[in-house]
């Protein structure tokens, strides 16, 4: 890994609202040219953290630095950081052009430089022909792009995005995800993105910081977070998984042998397991094969529920008293499907599961 | 910067209010304990006389006699204010309900029409009632023209005329809060009530009235308090004899030239207002209604 500069350093940030502790000693670094996502359920503190970076809130204790300089004492208009607001907050009494130029005017840019930059921004977000329109004449997706252009125009050191896609409908959201990703790569500006939608996070981010109960639950790449979640919270929040209560028999480095409720002993990757203790086995539905796709650790079960979803069919299978969710891809037309009540054979590779702390 | 503005942004308001209201009120209270000045005004001498004067007067035998006339005035003021408030409440609820049910454009137009008279100077509005109720006034002329009577004693210069005037002056103040309350009323609640076997009367009593109550209470305060201090209606429609607390105070500072006594009555008036406001605050504290 190249030694990249640190765009933002968050150190021991704690935030209390009365007796409620929203953030508890959170520390992490964000590197230059990174698409960094703060992910978590509502109320986990991610928006609070973002607002602290922007300057609209301050921590109860802790420090925040922007490219090495502490910024907590600076008001928002003195920080070289810009925000794309969840509601977009486009000034309704100004045109698209005027909105984009607003920050540049306040920074004292000369007129020709402002015009050039505004035109460049409009091109970049494909909104050139709407330059003279007012926000109330634009659609949701168009407003979002103007908000982006307005925030990027002043060449900030970091761009903050507060759930910018939440107001858009599905198709538009997916299109915007690609656009945002491309934009970040093109401009090379560090993006700090806040969302509660884990699909979005997995799709766009270089690294994800999963927040829960005011603390960092896991900080890593999308792949790490999905495949090797640090704990139950993360495994549960990201994607779907089956949790099996297991008994740890032995631990050997980063592998552990556990006894499942179905009786088998499985050896797989582990985090925070101790021999002789109870733990949780996390097994994702797509990693369990049915019938002829069942390989590795084999189990017998009976289908109790079936949800046809078009591209996938989700089954609930009762295996010796434990209910497992299994996801089968309908790879060929009119794939084989299993009716409720049918006995099926299930199998998963032993390294597909993960042992997590109880 | 921002921190400073928090202080000096509020400063002008505090200074002006302090200078023109808070300090003066303090002075009024002080003056109410002062002695009557020889040439009007007052002397800085501590005296309980103004308050004594509310209840007693020096009789023929140079002894203090109980004098109920001022108590009558205070009681009459409370009585009229209460009646005015009740009438306003009774009228505004059905009217507000009706207006709230209209389609948007009609509703806006009606609300506009309701508030419009409020913008016309009160003196003009009270004067208008003089024209209607007075001798040779509109009502008398109309009654005579239809042959019902051949002339009536003036409808003016009594409690009834004052009542009409006061209701008229303060009704717009009541309508708006009541309307705000009624508009928020979810029509589905009324339907649910009927669905559960209540008729219109029961629904009114057990669903609409309780939900409109916050608005009614807010409006009641807006009407009751100014009514207590009414000056124009008693003077113009009531004949100007010392009929209500408002113009009683007024005359002490005009022809009567008994400032401490006027101040004492003003303090009593303030006391009544405070009682009303505190009663309201206590009620609000007890309930957790969303107004």
């Amino acid at each position: 890994m190249t030694s990249r500069g640190k765009a933002i350093e968050v150190e021991g940030v704690t935030k209390d609202f009365g007796t409620f502790r929203a953030l508890d000693g959170v520390s992490f670094d964000i590197y230059d040219n990174e698409f960094f996502t703060l992910l978590g359920p509502s109320g986990c503190g991610k928006t609070t953290l973002l607002r602290m970076l922007a300057g609209f809130d301050a921590p109860t204790s802790g420090a925040i630095r922007l490219h090495g300089k502490p910024i907590l004492d600076l008001p928002p208009h003195k920080r070289r950081v810009n925000t794309v607001f969840q509601s977009y907050a486009l000034f309704p009494h100004m045109t698209v052009e005027q909105n984009i130029a607003f920050g540049l005017e306040n920074l004292g840019w000369p007129k020709d430089r402002r015009s050039a930059r505004t035109a460049q921004m409009l091109e970049m977000v494909h909104m050139a022909q709407f330059a003279r329109r007012r926000p109330d004449q634009l659609s949701g997706g168009q407003r979002q792009r103007v908000a982006l252009a307005r925030a990027l125009a002043p060449e900030p050191e970091v761009l903050l995005l507060d759930e910018p896609l939440s107001a858009l409908d599905l198709k538009l959201r997916q299109a915007m995800r690609d656009e945002l990703r491309t934009l970040q790569r093109q401009t090379g500006i560090t993006f700090v993105f806040v969302t509660h939608d884990q699909e979005e996070a997995l799709d766009m981010s270089d690294r994800i910081c999963v927040l829960g109960q005011g603390r960092i639950q896991h900080l890593g790449t999308p792949n790490e977070i999905y495949e090797d979640p640090a704990n139950r919270f993360v495994a549960d929040f990201i994607g779907e998984t089956n949790f099996l209560p297991v008994q740890v028999i032995s631990v050997d480095g980063d592998m552990a042998s556990v006894k499942t409720p179905m009786g088998q002993v499985v050896t797989t990757l582990q985090k925070a397991a101790t021999a002789g203790q109870a733990a949780t086995l996390s097994l994702r539905p797509e990693k369990i094969g049915m019938e002829d796709q069942a390989v590795g650790e084999i189990m017998q079960g009976r289908v109790t529920n079936k949800n046809y979803m078009g591209g996938y069919t989700h089954y609930t299978v009762d295996v010796g008293g434990t209910e497992l969710r299994v996801s089968k891809r309908n790879a060929i037309s009119h794939s084989q499907s299993f009716e409720i009540g049918r006995e099926v054979r299930l199998g998963f590779r032993h390294d597909s599961a993960r042992v997590l702390g109880a | 910067m921002r921190a400073d503005f928090r202080i000096w942004g509020l400063l002008p308001a505090w200074v002006i209010m302090g200078f023109t209201l808070i300090i003066p009120i303090g002075i009024v209270i002080a003056v109410s304990f002062a002695a009557r000045g020889a040439y009007g005004g007052f002397d800085w001498a501590l005296s309980g006389e103004p308050y004594v004067q509310i209840l007693y007067q020096v009789g023929w035998t140079d002894e203090l006699e109980f004098n109920p006339q001022y108590l009558y005035i205070i009681a009459r003021t409370l009585w009229l204010a209460a009646i005015t408030t009740l009438i306003c409440m009774a009228v505004s609820l059905p009217v507000a309900y009706y207006i709230a049910r209209q389609p948007r454009a009609v509703k806006a137009a009606l609300v506009y029409l309701v508030t419009l008279p409020f913008w016309v100077s009160m003196i003009v509005r009270v004067y208008a009632w003089l024209m209607i109720l007075g001798n040779d006034g509109v009502i008398e002329k109309a009654l005579v023209a239809t042959g019902l009577t051949s002339g009536i004693d003036s409808l003016l210069f009594n409690d009834g005329a004052m009542l009409v005037g006061m209701v008229y002056s303060y009704l717009p103040l009541m309508i708006l809060p009541v309307f705000a309350s009624v508009e928020k009323l979810d029509g589905a609640l009324i339907e649910a009530s009927h669905d559960l076997y209540a008729n219109r009367w029961v629904t009114l009593r057990r669903v609409i009235l309780p939900l409109a109550w916050p608005g009614l209470m807010a409006g009641a305060i807006l009407v009751f308090v100014p009514c207590l201090g009414a000056v124009l209606e008693p003077i113009l429609l009531g004949g100007g004899k010392q009929l209500l607390m408002g113009n009683l105070i007024q005359t002490q500072f005009g022809g009567g030239r008994n400032w401490p006594f006027g101040a004492a009555i003003a303090v009593v008036l303030m006391g009544l207002v405070m009682i009303v406001l505190m009663a309201r605050a206590l009620r609000d504290g007890g309930r957790h209604d969303a107004a």
Partner: protein, 264 residues
């Protein structure tokens, strides 16, 4: 159909119509008889504008109008400015100590019967030896106009999400630039409505103006009161009608301003 429309209560329409009749009857009467040719107010003898003529050439009346207008304009400007500053602090600033009590203080004139505050100010000014009639009136009027300017401004500010001001600050606008280029344009209708309300309250005021009245400072309502005590005259009707018309124009402007263009 009304058997099924359970939200409908019979008779309300009629009641409302009667209500509006009651509301507008006095105004209609005043206006109607202002055009009466006859000197006797209630006997109609013909249409005439002569009372308007006499009203508009009445020296004393015009002086009173001038006094009222001057006073109202000054009070409007001062009270709206003070109210605007107070509203900005009370609605937007975080962690303001004694916010509740400050709001009560700003709205104090609404909580006191006017006769009490009029008397209080009279005593204060006489003790201070303040004799300048206009100064006394300006001070008193500004004070009771403040809550009337405050309420519409506050309502408009509360209806405006703080997002816009935050976005402006995010884009390097200082607090002053934020106020000038973002906050003020967006709350302007509320400010105008407040100013207009303050103007009307000052123009209409009787009790305080009467209490503080001295030689050359008769306001319009006080002057009219003097006329009324002499008996009803058609000239009075004409003056009143003019006032009604002026009030309606201002009221309409203010209401239109308040309801147009909600902030998204």
């Amino acid at each position: 159909m009304t058997r099924h429309d359970v939200r409908h209560y019979p008779g309300l329409g009629l009641l409302t119509a009667a209500f509006f009749a009651y509301l507008y009857l006095p105004i209609a009467v005043v206006v109607f008889f202002s055009f009466n040719e006859n000197r006797l107010v209630s006997v109609w003898t013909g249409f005439s504008l002569k009372w308007y003529d006499s009203a508009l050439s009445n020296r004393a009346l015009l002086d009173a109008v001038k006094t009222s207008l001057t006073l109202a304009v000054i009070a409007m400007v001062l009270s709206t400015t003070v109210a605007l500053m107070a509203a900005l602090v009370l609605v937007r600033a975080k962690g303001v100590k004694g916010r509740r009590i400050s709001e009560t203080v700003v709205n104090l004139p609404l909580l006191l019967p006017e006769i009490v505050s009029a008397v209080a100010v009279l005593i204060l000014f006489s003790q201070l030896g303040l004799t300048n009639g206009l100064a006394k009136l300006v001070l008193a009027h500004t004070a009771f106009c403040i809550p009337f300017a405050f309420l519409p401004i506050r309502a408009r500010l509360q209806g405006m999400a703080p997002d816009y001001e935050e976005a402006a600050q995010d884009l390097y606008a200082t607090p002053w630039v934020t106020f000038r280029r973002v906050t003020l344009p967006l709350i302007l209708p509320g400010v105008f409505a407040g100013a207009m309300l303050a103007f009307v309250m000052s123009m209409d005021d009787f009790i305080t103006s009467n209490m503080l009245a001295s030689g050359g400072n008769t306001t319009l309502p006080v002057y009219i009161f003097g006329l009324i005590k002499q008996g009803t005259t058609p000239e009075l009707n004409a003056i009143s009608t003019l006032i009604i018309v002026a009030s309606l124009i201002i009221a309409t402007t203010a209401l239109v301003l308040t309801f147009r263009r909600r902030i998204p």
